[in-house]
Amino acid sequence: MDASQIIFFLSAALILVSALFVVTARNLVHAALWLIATLFGVAVLYVLLEAGFLAVVQVVVYIGAIAILFIFAVMLTRRDLLSQSSQTNANWPVALGVSALSLAAIAFIARGFGFSLDRPLAPVPTDSLERLGQALVSPQQFVLPFEVASVLLVAALVGAVYVAMNKK
């Protein structure tokens, strides 16, 4: 077992344990903080995959924006933050079924990969970031998805604005 495997097991353990705390924490802000630990663990996994850009983006977007949004939502929508509400509602059997199905689907897909430790690592080009940029702008590749991403995000913004206006 080499160092990267140890780091992988540590971060996987961090992800699983903190994910468990996310669903079991009684205090909603604690749940959000545990979620941040989970997301940080995912960033470490990206580093192990030599995707440094994605790791940093994971921290910037998920911890810097989405987690903060969650905490704001929790703090601003609940009248009483200490309320120890029940952690489940009447739909829990359905949720259990859906989760079990997703797990089965992931297991089914993963079975086909044939994981092996002997497989050689794909070389990561040193200018991978620049290549990503090239791929995003070249017409043969992803320029249309690149522009559509902007439209999609603006659509999300318009939706958020609409919801926020109705609330007011």
Binding site: H30, I36, F53, V56, V60, G64, I68, M75
Partner: protein, 398 residues
């Protein structure tokens, strides 16, 4: 290669030979030496932080026509040490209803988020923690940890003032992150890399980015001041209304960590302005690129200068109200940032293969033109607002 041209490599090699000579395996020695280097770098940053306490107090005193600390040591230079001793031996009070774990974690994360930034600062051509190819986004990511620490502090204190201060501070920090990221995109675009070392080298070979994009520099400085939560953007503290905001319940060393973090953060962003827009290790002393000690001096001197500029703004401009603050960002700074990015990208793409003087002139003039257009728009807006204010006034007299 000798000590004066590449000190880190010389020390590294010497330690490597010594440690492996003791029978230590190569990779363990490598990790240990790097660990030592990290501890030295962070300790140096902390020592600098202690000095900054004195600088801050002395400079604010001069701005306010006072003397400042002048009793302990020459020019009061040793004043920070009694300050620290006082903070350490002070009783640490945790309010009864506080969430203890989060309450204790917040100041640690607050200072740590600033220390993290020092990993990517290129102090000289071959003296730096790590040359990350995503250094500029890493800077934003470290800022995200800082934002998190503030919301944790505000929430865990179980205090209405603290919570309100944290809300305000976080609203300001996340809002101003947009112009900040766009301002970081400009050096990325000009240098074609996100590594801080690469950006400095691009300025060493070409023109300083402050010449190519003076508006970008101003944008970064303003966004950085907001990100730091310093006046005029310090409404999170607002001592007259919410008594220092998110760190109201902190005392002793935990308060000290917030304070130390704030000062070091300001200095670090000053250094970033120097590195990203003013050529990093290249000026004012010559040969900064050849002799690292001169380079380190240059970077720190620029950091200190922009730290002083940030202080100058802090002690000159009055505090803004939260609505003005957010309006200033979303209705002025963000549109301006995107306009600047568009202009920079187009002009850069068209002129980048021309001779340096033509390219530099085109970039500089486009910036000036954009700045002038913005000022005209602001002026006409102000004229309209004044007219709207003045017209109903005579009617009211009847």
């Amino acid at each position: 290669m000798n000590f004066w041209t590449d000190p880190i490599k010389v020390i590294y090699d010497w330690l490597m030979i010594t440690l492996t000579g003791w029978g230590m395996s190569g990779w363990l020695a490598d990790v240990l030496i790097n660990l030592l280097g990290i501890i030295v770098l962070i300790t140096a940053a902390m020592v600098l932080d202690i000095l900054l306490v004195w600088v801050e107090r002395k400079v604010v005193a001069r701005f306010q026509d006072r003397l400042g600390p002048n009793r302990v040591g020459p020019f009061g230079l040793f004043q920070p040490f009694p300050d620290i001793i006082k903070l350490i031996i002070k009783e640490d009070i945790t309010p009864a209803g506080a969430d203890k774990v989060v309450f204790n974690l917040a100041p640690i994360l607050s200072l740590a988020s600033v220390i993290f930034l020092w990993a990517v600062i290129p102090l000289a051509a071959n003296v730096y923690g790590v040359d990350l190819n995503v250094a500029l986004l890493y800077l934003v990511a470290a800022g995200a940890i800082g934002t998190l620490s503030i919301i944790m502090a505000g929430w865990a204190s179980n205090n209405k003032y603290a919570l309100l201060g944290a809300y305000r501070m976080v609203a300001v920090m996340i809002s101003y992150e947009i112009p900040m990221i766009v301002a970081l995109l400009i050096p990325t675009l000009l240098a074609g890399t996100m590594s801080m070392k690469g950006i400095t080298l691009a300025q060493q070979d070409g023109l300083w980015f402050v010449v190519l994009s003076p508006l970008g520099m101003l944008l970064f400085l303003v966004a950085a001041i907001a990100e730091l939560g310093r006046a005029p953007f310090d409404l999170s503290e607002g001592e007259s209304e919410i008594v220092s905001g998110f760190h109201i319940e902190y005392s002793g060393m935990k308060f000290g960590l917030f304070y130390a973090g704030e000062l070091l953060h300001a200095f670090t962003f000053g250094a970033f302005v120097g590195i990203l827009f003013f050529g990093g290790w290249n000026w004012p002393l010559p040969w900064g690129d050849k002799y690292p000690l001169i380079g380190i001096f240059n970077v720190l001197a620029k950091g200190m200068f922009f730290y002083w500029v940030i202080m100058w703004v802090k002690y000159t401009v009055p505090r803004l109200r939260i609505d003005h603050m957010l309006a200033f960002n979303w209705k002025f700074l963000t549109p301006l940032a995107f306009a600047l990015l568009i202009v920079t990208a187009v002009v850069h793409a068209i002129f980048k293969d021309l001779p340096l003087w033509a390219y530099g002139l085109a970039m500089f003039l486009s910036n000036i033109l954009l700045g002038w257009a913005v000022l005209e728009i602001l002026r006409s807006n102000a004229r309209q607002e004044r007219a709207a204010e003045e017209t109903p006034a005579p009617a009211a007299q009847h």
